[in-house]
Amino acid sequence: MKVLFLKLLLGVFFLPLVALASDSDFNGRWRLDRERSSALDGWTAMDLSIEVKGTKVAIGHDMRWRSTRVFETNVVDTAKPVKLSNYFRVDQRHMAVYAPKESVTPVQASWLDKKRTLRVEAVIPVEVSQGDAKIRLYSEYRVGEGGETLTLIELHSTRNRPLVYIFRKLPSDDTTRP
């Protein structure tokens, strides 16, 4: 509980301050526009908190389902591949696809389109009913003109239909949670 609280403190209060001090349009908190997005499954709401600091990009996921709150952050590096422990993915929770208890995910990230697109590619280990499997997850985070909209496009190596999530930027003084 304390850990979650500290994570939230970072996500809700610290990130907006960082955003003010940074020049990336990505920085800040973004709230999912459910009407315009692919349907979440097993989650009812989602915010992203993004902080760009040098070559590192911290992508926080503030997820809600009923009384369940999850806040998890992946920190990727646009300068070099990294291996992340317990990489968080927005899972479809009505599928029997589980994150292993301990896992390492190789992740590559880079800027595209004059830094208006962040590309993240991860090979994520999962557990399914037949045992271990992997999903190659290709994500693009695209900031729209004016910096008010963020589009996340997810392609799974295991899924022919892309998932498209559209977010709207929250004002820097908005401390509400999803």
């Binding site: 097993g42 696809v97 009913s129 239909r161």
Partner: protein
């Protein structure tokens, strides 16, 4: 002297046996009455009259089946009208419609000794009033209905207005326990939860009134410790093997907490809070000559061989009465339906109706976890074999070969941990030597096993009725890719209110060598080639609710 005493004893025995035989053999009355309800259950409008009529129904039906209530098709229990037709058609009941509360009181006032007034400003007082109703043969009225009760010559038995003003639910129920619990039924208790506040839906209250149950909606949430302690006291006071009828109170606790708690006492849950007409239904038996004959696609001892395919099977739990039974398309795909097995006692006509209207693609299975809704990871070890023997007997009556298990005590609704400990799985294998297999979960789960020819397969997918069908298709296709060994056994839980037509479309868009098969075939095939990994719930698996 001894001869005279023996003679009197013999005469007494004859009279007793005669009385017993006549009561056992008594058929329900062929003349009955019916009322139609609308969907207005608001405290400020429709509820008070409905509460009065439901309490009246419980009293009127105490000695014979007299009053039946039909709800609109979009009420959660959608089969009241088809079942009404069934009673007319198969039992020859002639119903007379009653259109007003006034007429209902006129017809059935002799079943009551008076009225008890509940306090509309204290919703909990309605549950206390229902308890009094059963004990004192009183109809439950709100303030504005007092004149109507008086018009029919009914006298006030109790008035709860003001008695509980400003009190917490724990205080109210503590008082009610002190006053009434000693006289209440200890084999059955009514957890009259569900909706709270401006809308309440106590459609099952007739049953509680008839059976003189204690009504409450005490929380099972440990954070509401004052209520939990009373809840536990009541559960602990019940007789071994007792039933908890009704449903947990929304916004106070969760279904998982509530069901886990009563499972810890080895009790059986039958719901929901709005399951209507049990006071009527319970008085019927199966029609003469009726015998359950399930649509088995494979014999118990058959052996099948799986091919290099993806085998899919669909299951609808949540009890068939609130499911997709009346939705379009039933029969187009093989479907397994979890039957509320205790309806053999409480609602035989409903079970007979389902069996009568089943298509060849409808297959019935036992559940949920036992002879009622219960979480087996939490059932006391000494109660488990007794309960499962009961379940076995019910499954035999219902001609069922598959047991469905669900333990959501560590889950969060239809996501999260729904797995079984190895000890629980061991206990099921021991208790059910003659089933084709077991299925597990509600949302997805990962408990899998195979012992001799009996597989235990968990759901790999749960279809949320609100999820767009194209995403459902993509989800299933993704599971097929991720589980790349063939055969792959993909068990799908279809949540109530999905319609089968939409699933036909989903199946048509699946990729790969897919075959949809009936559940018994699915399990036989799963027994023939084990491509799933044996797994049980592990001590360090994530849990949502840590327990009591």
């Amino acid at each position: 002297m001894t001869m005279i005493r023996l003679f009197y004893l013999f005469v007494f025995w004859l009279v007793s046996v005669g009385t017993l035989i006549s009561s056992v053999g008594a058929s329900p009355a062929k003349q009955a009455w019916v009322m139609r309800f609308d969907l207005d259950w608001q405290v400020a409008s429709g509820l008070p009259e409905k509460a009065m009529l439901i309490s009246l129904q419980g009293l009127a039906n105490r000695n014979e089946a007299q009053l039946y209530i039909i709800h609109p098709p979009d009420f959660q229990w959608e089969i009241t009208e088809p079942l009404y037709d069934f009673y007319k058609r198969k039992h020859g009941i002639s119903f007379t419609e009653i259109s007003t509360a006034d007429a209902a009181l006129d017809q059935f006032k002799s079943a009551t000794k008076g009225y008890v007034v509940w306090d509309k400003t204290v919703g909990t007082s309605l549950n206390v009033a229902f308890t009094i109703s059963g004990l004192e043969d009183a109809v439950v009225v709100s303030e504005e209905l007092i004149p109507l009760a008086k018009k029919h010559g009914l006298k006030e038995i109790d008035d709860l207005r003001g008695r509980y003003t400003g009190q917490s639910d724990a205080e109210i129920y503590e008082d009610a326990i002190d006053r009434y619990w000693a006289r209440c039924n200890r084999d059955k208790i009514m957890l009259m939860g569900g909706e709270r506040g401006r809308t309440m839906m106590p459609a099952m209250a007739d049953w509680g009134v008839r059976e003189r149950m204690f009504f409450h909606d005490l929380s099972a949430d440990p954070e509401e410790a004052d209520e939990l302690v009373l809840n536990r006291r009541l559960l602990g006071d019940l007789n071994t093997g007792a039933f908890v009828f009704g449903w947990h109170p929304y916004t106070k606790d969760t279904e998982e907490q509530s069901t886990m708690l009563l499972s810890m006492y080895g009790l059986k849950m039958e719901g929901l809070h709005n399951l209507p007409n049990l006071s009527y239904n319970c008085q019927f038996e199966f029609t003469p000559g009726f015998k359950f004959t399930n649509n088995h696609s494979v014999a118990l001892d058959a052996k099948l061989g799986a091919q290099e395919k993806v085998y899919i099977s669909f299951v609808q739990s949540d009890s068939i009465g609130i499911g997709v039974w009346t939705k379009p398309g039933r029969g187009k795909l093989p479907f397994a339906w979890q039957v509320t097995m205790n309806w053999t006692d409480f609602s035989p006509a409903a079970l007979e109706y389902f069996h009568e209207s089943a298509t060849p693609n409808d297959y019935f299975i036992g559940g949920l976890s036992g002879p009622g809704y219960m979480y087996p990871n939490n059932i006391p070890a000494d109660r488990f074999p007794v309960l499962m023997r009961e379940a076995r007997e019910l499954m035999a009556v219902l001609d069922e070969h598959v047991m469905e298990i669900m333990d959501n005590s560590a889950a969060d609704g239809n996501v999260g941990n729904a797995d079984l400990f190895k000890e629980t799985v061991d206990a099921y294998y021991e208790a059910f030597p003659n089933v084709i297999g077991f299925i597990n979960g509600y949302g997805p789960a990962r408990t899998h096993d195979l012992r001799d020819s009996r597989p235990m397969i968990s759901y790999d997918y749960y279809i949320d009725p609100r999820r767009p069908r194209e995403e459902v298709t993509a989800d299933l296709n993704e599971l097929i890719v991720l589980n790349s060994k063939r055969p792959y056994f993909l068990l799908v839980h279809v949540r109530e209110s999905n319609d089968v037509n939409s699933l036909v479309e989903v199946v048509g868009n699946l990729e790969g060598p897919v075959e949809v098969v009936p559940l018994d075939v699915f399990l036989k095939l799963a027994a023939s080639k084990k491509t799933y990994k044996t797994r049980f719930r592990q001590a360090d698996d994530p849990v949502h609710f840590k327990g009591f």
